[in-house]
Amino acid sequence: MALKKVKGNFERMFDKNLTDLVRGIRNNKDNEAKYIAQCMEEIKVELRQDNIGVKANAVAKLTYLQMLGYDISWAIFNIIEVMSSNKFTFKRIGYLAASQSFHADSELLMLTTNMIRKDLNAQNQYEAGLALSGLSCFISHDLARDLANDIMTLMSSTKPYLRMKAVLMMYKVFLRYPEALRPAFPKLKEKLEDPDPGVQSAAVNVVCELARKNPKNYLSLAPVFFKLMTTSTNNWMLIKIIKLFGLMTQYEPDIGRKITQSLIDLICSTTAMSLLYECINTVIAVLISISSGMPGHAASVQLCVQKLRILIEDSDQNLKYLGLLAMSRILKSHPKSVQAHKDLVLACLDDKDESIRLRALGLLYGMVSKKNLMEIVKKLMMHMERAEGTLYRDELLTRMIEICSQNNYQHVVDFEWYITVLAELTEMETSAKHGCMIAAQLTEVGARVAQTRGFAARECAALCARAAASPPRAASREVLYAAAYVLSEYCTEEDVMRESISALTLCASADAGGPHMRARAVCVHAALKLAAKLLRAFELRGDRRSVIAVLHEILAGVRPLLCSEDMEVQERAHNTTALMSLVLRRLQPADPALADAPLEPPSDTLVDHEQSNGLEKNENGEINEEESSKSLSGGLIEEIVSLFEGELKPVAPKAQKKVPIPADLDLNQWLSRDRWSSDSSSSEGEDEGTALFTAPQVDAKPVTQFTPEELQMLREARRQEQANNPHYLKDDSPRSYQQDDIPIAEIALEVPLQVQSKRSDKYLITRENSKKAKKEKRPSKKRKNKIERHFSESDSDDGADRVGRPAVAEGGELPDGAAPSDDEQSLHDDPHRALDLDLDLPLREEELLSSRIQQYPLPESGLLIKKKESKKNKSSEKRSSEKSSHKKKVKNSKRNKEIDLMLPEIANNNDLGDNLLIETGEDNAPKNDLTIDDASDKKQREKLKTEKHKKSKKDVKDKDSKKKKTSKKDKHETKIGYEEALGISTPSKEVI
């Protein structure tokens, strides 16, 4: 037997171990994949052997391969085998492999339950520790449910190492099995005051993680944390606690009020930068929550900002970054104190570090005013030109638009400048996503600022002309979509319109922006719109020749589009041609252009054709008879123009949702039994909230009658046909890239030879000039300014600016009776939601975890440990099951009193907070308890209430005496409030 073992060992030492594998991979750099495949085969053979050592070796190699990206989930059974070995060495290998490759949804995990339980209860603390570490990586709901009790037991182990790990492990258990939280919580709370600092720190860690997602439920722990904060010297723990206070203070500003002084003391005394930084952060959070009215409020803000300035000015880039990060938090509530350090932030914009620049960009949002907006944007534009890396560029652009458009364009004085900036941004190389953003801005400014519409239209015309001249880039293609709309909607100048028609039709052709540009159809439509407008203008003037010229122009422009491969473009081109030839025929029936019109109806049936047009019939008839002598086209042009009349107004983001459903509308009833019709059901309102205008809504009618599938088929067929047709020119022929067509920017004469002058700069310059001029006049205006300052908060606004600033339409249209609000709650798929439990409610019978112990008999060793521990440290299951726990009650209340004495103020305060908590807690509990069966819950709660009633009678005397004591301490508290609060300060023991 011994001989066999020796032989086995001897054989084994020639197997390939992990080191050999790594070396082999390094030696086979050229054909690594092949070598690894070969190794995998070897490993598979090794796994089939009986010798556990061989298997462990194989699993160790698998773990390494897993890191390189190879799937090893097929070996899960073998890994479990190695985990279950008696030897620590192999166990270690097994658990490492498991922690790297298992996950909560792995198959066969249920095989591990009993093995892990055995390991958890092992004599050796490192075996149990290993099991805990491993389990923390792959615990599933079932494992959490079945092992919760064992881990709870370990929380009161005699060994600090195990206690520490078990405490951390409980957090993972809670995440997977939220029902464990309430029964385990008293014990967790106990661990906050564990003699071992490591355990204490672990408990703080877990409670902080829990409280992070549901801070309200943990407010009652504030006194304990405060005590820890003032006594502990462990910076790790202090940071966690201070972070937690920062969260809590949002819900209970009183906490913030109490801790501020100690935090400020810490800020002044600590040498650890990390602690200093977190203290500042929490003080900021406190300051935000108590917006004013605290003594020394302004001084604390000042202190924070000053400390942050020191951080930002530090040579250490990390501190600089964090300083800016914290500044952005202050910015929200105290913009003025941050604005004082504008120089610093602007300097950071030029930092070589991208992270820091991004942070500084975030701060700019609060730094701009009417006065400096142009300057800052100019600086950003310069960055934009220089910037490398799309991430930074994209961020720059987003920020630029953000700071300009914030608060309904609060800081933009000159919208012509803004539109120029947008146009310049379009020319820069950005992604399509940002094209959309610029497009949305263009439409929005057009819709909101009536005064600049003419300018916007001109600017858009230039954009279209540029797009027609040379193929637009990704961003311009998106902007074109908006530009075409703005141009056609707001343009009033005849020559601009005239020039734009051909530009627009050119843009619509495939070779301008590629076949998939969504702006193409809009361009055709815009051309028609412009033509209609022009025709009316000429008609009113009686300029027959120009009318015909325009008609010819648009007919010629649209002709190539009649057989466009894009269905929508084709459809719109046909519409345009039909409408325009209608007019032309009325004016000049024998025009040669008409011969080309494909949908040419015989001219003698023209009137019939019109009359079949339903609505227009009667009016047309009248006009024909009465006014044909006055207007060239007999009112036809007027009719066409009326197609495009009516202003489009901004619509509030949630308007769609607020439209009330009419009483007689049954949404569940089919409109049509036809199956196809259900396909085209639209998805409106999907992207609400992003911008008021996600896309210009030009096309009101669906153009095609085809379903998407049919369309796709048709398109495919056409493409096929074109590809096979040798006479067809392919449209993806390479085009020379010309940039000479871009108009050269004007240079204002005042600037001596500035190389990188932009069109938008001239606004800045004229502004500066006017400012100079104003300065001379200023003394006389002083008084006026002062008065105006009262009206507006921003100190830097000149009175004249406000006069000159065009009106900006605010808000958007909503259905009658609806108010703009955001009543939607975002629903996240977050495990923490299940943990939103009221921890101060007493435990119920069925919540106890102890019952599980009987279901799964423990191995002997485990029992032993349990017995020992239960003598020393009474486990919480036991405690809660003991119904007559009078002694403990006394003990507990004593302990509470101690705390009360130490922190009388905080404790009382806390009672106030709890009070609120309990009330809301009881109201909300059924809603929040997602995981607990509602019906049984309610019953249980009713039971509890009746029990409470009975008890309360008994306790009345006791309570009364206490009441007297505390009412002396705090006169403000009402009696009812205190009664409830008492229930909380001794949780889980009173009722049961």
Binding site: E11, T19, M67, R92, L96, S133, C137, E209, M273, Q317
Partner: protein, 191 residues
């Protein structure tokens, strides 16, 4: 919470990876790749924090890293962790490795990724910081290694001898010699 700990070299080769949230192997590799691309293009004198990893986390997450010689140590953490604290933690991790391997270098991590994992397990558990005191960590590790040695005892001696031979700087031919032929011969011997 710490979401992931990644160690890779200047070329992006993973040397140690630990994910505290499940990702499948392909995703893990993509994350490592993306993280490497983000981190490697940064100068050494810029700050150690990085936002904008798209694959892992989201807006609440940050990459905190340090660059030591040929290795990047990257921690992906959420907002509940202190940035400077994590930087300290990385330092503790590296110093502990240094103590365990005696002047740690990339090769140590290449050949003893399992040992590095053991160090890490004493430092962080399930994404939460377990212990930051280096002396304590070393003591725990030492005791566990002692257990392992006691188990191996005398039976591990020949294996260790062989691996020592293998890791000697022998000429390639000798190393490639098909050693497993030997046991077959031994097996054939009749005891």
């Amino acid at each position: 919470m710490i979401k992931a700990i990644l160690v890779f070299n200047n070329h992006g080769k993973p040397r140690l990876s630990k994910f505290y949230q499940y990702f499948n192997e392909d995703m893990q590799q993509q994350i490592i790749k993306e993280t490497f691309q983000l981190v490697s293009k940064r100068d050494d004198n810029v700050c150690n924090f990085l936002e904008g990893g798209s694959l892992i986390g989201g807006s609440d997450y940050k990459l905190i890293y340090r660059h030591y010689a040929t290795l990047y140590f990257v921690f992906c953490v959420d907002s509940s962790e202190s940035e400077l604290g994590i930087l300290d933690l990385i330092q503790v991790f590296v110093e502990t490795l240094d103590k365990c391997f005696e002047n740690v270098c990339e090769l140590d991590l290449i050949f003893h990724a399992d040992a590095a994992h053991q160090v890490l397990d004493e430092l962080v558990m399930g994404g939460m910081v377990l212990q930051t005191n280096m002396a304590d960590i070393l003591c725990r590790l030492h005791e566990q290694n002692k257990m392992q040695k006691a188990e191996a005892g005398i039976s591990a001696a020949p294996a260790r001898a062989v691996s020592a031979v293998k890791s000697m700087n022998l000429p390639q031919q000798l190393r490639d010699m098909r050693l497993p032929d030997l046991p077959q011969a031994i097996k054939d011997l009749k005891f």
